[in-house]
Symmetry: C2
Subunit: 113 residues, 2 copies
């Protein structure tokens, strides 16, 4: 099943920003499920990486939080703030370009490999 662990360096923030750009509010656990679903189980975010990153983005003012209680359990919904939307736009642009550059490099002379 080839789970791509160990391969997320630097992309976690971009994944979060992208999903919140599309969905307008999501909670942490939901994000982990969503990524698994979107990638057919190939990519797994660990909670140990996710939650601190959400806190960091909140501290930076890119995300806002609202807590709701579902089934007697708290959920923290995150949304992009106004400045978060701007920043997300920039960062995703350059991350997309980075990913494109990676494919460029990886797909040269594919005859050889």
């Amino acid at each position: 099943m080839a789970q791509n662990t160990q391969l997320l360096k630097g992309s976690l923030i971009n994944i979060i920003l992208k999903l919140l750009g599309d969905n307008d509010k999501m909670y942490g656990y939901e994000i982990t499920k969503k990524v698994k679903e979107l990638t057919n189980g190939e990519l797994s975010l660990t909670e140990g990486a996710l939650y601190p990153t959400l806190h960091k983005l909140e501290a930076e003012g890119l995300l806002s939080v609202s807590v709701e209680h579902i089934d007697n359990r708290p959920r923290k919904y995150y949304s992009l703030t106004k400045s978060g939307k701007k920043e997300a736009g920039c960062r995703l642009e350059s991350f997309k370009s980075f990913v494109a550059q990676m494919q460029l490099v990886l797909n040269l002379n594919s005859a050889i490999k």
Copy 2:
């Protein structure tokens, strides 16, 4: 010119393995130039990251070195070893799949962003 610094986490090793898979021997400085050239200056490897990574891959037995002297200056040519070729195949496969998953996630609902 939007230089994508800060975005290379985890991909450096894969870039090295890919280039050495294609070119059979390269030296460090040449690798930095090659990446700049291939990506039209968008991606720059820093030497502070590159050289330690080459040393590490050598220590792991994936690369072999031969020193040549050009213009009275030493060059260390790196090549994939036998086991390096095997490993490179595996790692590049899963890195390619990771990059593909990234594009998958980044290009959903692009209408919204």
